[in-house]
Amino acid sequence: MRSLRVYAVLYLLFLYAPIVLLPIFAFNDSAVISFPLSGATTQWFTGLADEREMTGALRTSILIALISASFATVLGIFAAMAGTRSDFPAKRPILGLIMLPLVLPEVIVATSLLIVIVQVFGLDPGAWSIIVAHVLICTPFSVAILNSAFQNLDPALEEAALDLGESRRGAFRRVTLPLIVPGIVSSFLIAFTISLDEFIIAFFMSGNTTTLPVYIYGLTRFPGKMPLVMALGTLLVAASIILLIAAEAMRRRGLRRAGLKDTGGFL
């Protein structure tokens, strides 16, 4: 199937074309993003450091992402444990509601929360309301990741701990928790990435809070700032690839710990 292979390579080119351009124009000594290139410079990177607003937006985004990812992972642990370990009335609708944000356009999550916050309670949206909404949309991803972590775990392990005299809490702490740590870490990393990258909710609820995506959106309105976007993008790509590799390494370690073979497949 040679033609299929050629197609696959072309497709990868399509996927990577924009990302390959990032560093090229980030180091290009011209305010206009076009060929031919005019020479190498690091001025756009040093220029980034002067963008006070950007460092502020970055800090806000990371803070929001850290808090959102923590809450989403904790809620995910609860839901995944309930979903994989026990049967209870109305299990499907309850878990369905928790997973619903997965099939809801983000604009719905953003507007519906905004109405409640602004119109019903008369509050000002801000970082806190972005966190509330991010927890909502990240939780389903955490649940999905943690579900598979719990499913890979032999339920007899926890029973064995109980049988050997541990309380439920002790069994969770000494057996279940250490074995699902890799799942918790990758849930956290993925929730963190989603929150960090989320635009619509952050934009609708920004008020006086500017997250990094909202800030980048602002930059794209000014053609002269495009090289800065390129430099920032280069840094972000590098950071996210490092995070991604870390997450994959954790996943594999988890499989190894649980004594399972790697069945391949990311996510």
């Binding site: 007899a156 029973e159 064995a160 049988d163 074995l179």
Partner: protein, 400 residues
């Protein structure tokens, strides 16, 4: 002395009635097996004793203490899981010492206890190894050591040998028996393998569909099953229609048969490992008094009254007869036992044994006979006319 007592235990899962009124007494120091086909409730029963499942009705007491509301972690029972449930993130030694956390002894004493437990199961020096690198047999031993180190009153074993190869399984059977005698702890074994249960147990409860069908020692269970279900589940059994008649008294026409090649195979294995003591030959009376039984295809015989269970009265019944208690009479051989005419229908050659299916007059289903392949004995062909020798003492009267 009764250690575990279950009275009227029921367990429902929604509409499913998993245990239907189980009454059970298990004695201190006993090797007790729960035997049955998959889905019969034996594992549920074990989990009820362990405290992983509550009961819907009835009571469980261990060592005279009612277990209602007592969680698995507070019961004097420990379990060897079917999957062994070896903690993959801990070393072998940490696995074995897992339950000692609340033990007030100093650290060195606990380490010593772990070493002793490992030695007991033949894994000395394995303490530092990673648990997930162990073989199936080794995992089983770690699971045993981990449970026994806590000196439970009862050790529960949930199909502990089913994941092992045949050879290692038979070796572990013998080791488990020895271990149990050594530590004197009550063992309760769940298994679907009748041979395993017969070889290992002091007593066996055979379960079907949430009920106990029969509870007896292995020999009684094998020789005198109380129902067609039990008889069919344990070993091979021919079933024949029969009629139970009047009590009669008649002159003994023939002396006691010499010990023939009866009860070979499994029973021999039981004898070999000392589970079953062969009965001393009895002196037989001149006169025999008994009950007349007419067995379809085989003929008439007189059986001693005690061989007929109380619940079976006169009239139609089903009798069972084991393949190894029937024998083919080869040319020139004679017997003092009863004889029936038969035609060979099917021959399956097993090397040390040959299984014959033979047709007898008036019975639709052929009878299965197992014969040891002794020197000079031919293997018969299909269609050959032959004679079958049988003994009334091996008839199991099952009722209708």
């Amino acid at each position: 002395m009764t250690l575990i007592q279950l009275a009227g235990v029921h367990k429902h899962y929604g509409d499913f009635h998993a245990l239907k009124g189980i009454d059970l007494d298990i004695r201190q120091g006993e090797f007790f097996s729960l035997l049955g086909p998959s889905g019969c409730g034996k594992t549920t029963l074990l989990r009820v004793i362990a405290g992983f499942e509550g009961v819907s009705e009835g009571s469980v007491s261990i060592d005279g203490r009612d277990m209602r509301g007592v969680g698995a972690n507070h019961r004097p029972t420990n379990m060897v899981f079917q999957s062994y449930a070896i903690f993959p993130h801990l070393s072998v030694g940490e696995n074995v010492g897992f339950g000692l956390r609340r033990d007030p002894r100093p650290r060195e004493d606990k380490a010593k206890a772990v070493d002793e437990a490992l030695e007991m199961v033949g894994l000395s020096g394995y303490g530092k190894r990673a648990a997930h690198a162990l073989s199936g047999g080794q995992r089983q031993r770690v699971a045993l050591a981990r449970a026994l180190i806590l000196k439970p009153k009862v050790l529960l074993l949930d199909e502990p040998l089913s994941a092992l190869d045949k050879k290692i399984r038979e070796q572990m059977q013998v080791e488990l028996i020895k271990l149990q005698r050594e530590v004197g702890i009550t063992f309760i074994l769940v298994t679907h393998d009748q041979e395993e249960a017969l070889v290992m147990s002091d007593r066996i409860a055979v379960m079907f569909e949430g009920e106990i069908g029969q509870m007896d020692d292995p020999e009684t269970l094998y020789r005198r099953p109380n129902s067609r279900r039990v008889a069919g589940f344990i070993g091979m059994m021919n079933f024949l229609p029969a009629t139970i008649g009047q009590k009669v008294s008649q002159m003994k026409s023939r002396p006691a048969p010499p010990p023939g090649p009866d009860n070979r195979g499994l029973l021999q294995r039981l004898k070999d490992i000392g589970r079953v003591v062969p009965p001393a030959p009895k002196a037989l009376p001149e006169y025999e008094t008994g009950i007349e039984v007419k067995v379809a295809g085989l003929g008439r015989c007189i059986v001693p009254p005690e061989q007929i269970p109380d619940r079976v009265g006169q009239g139609e019944t089903i009798v069972g007869i084991r393949p190894e208690t029937l024998s083919i009479l080869f040319e020139g051989e004679t017997t003092q036992r009863n004889i029936a005419e038969a035609v060979v229908d099917e021959v399956v050659y097993y090397g040390d044994m040959t299984y014959y299916d033979v047709r007898v007059a008036g019975v639709e289903k052929p009878l299965t006979i197992s014969m040891k392949n002794l020197i000079g004995r031919p293997v018969l062909d299909v269609g050959v006319r032959t004679r079958v020798a049988w003994d009334e003492r091996s008839l199991v009267i099952l009722g209708s």
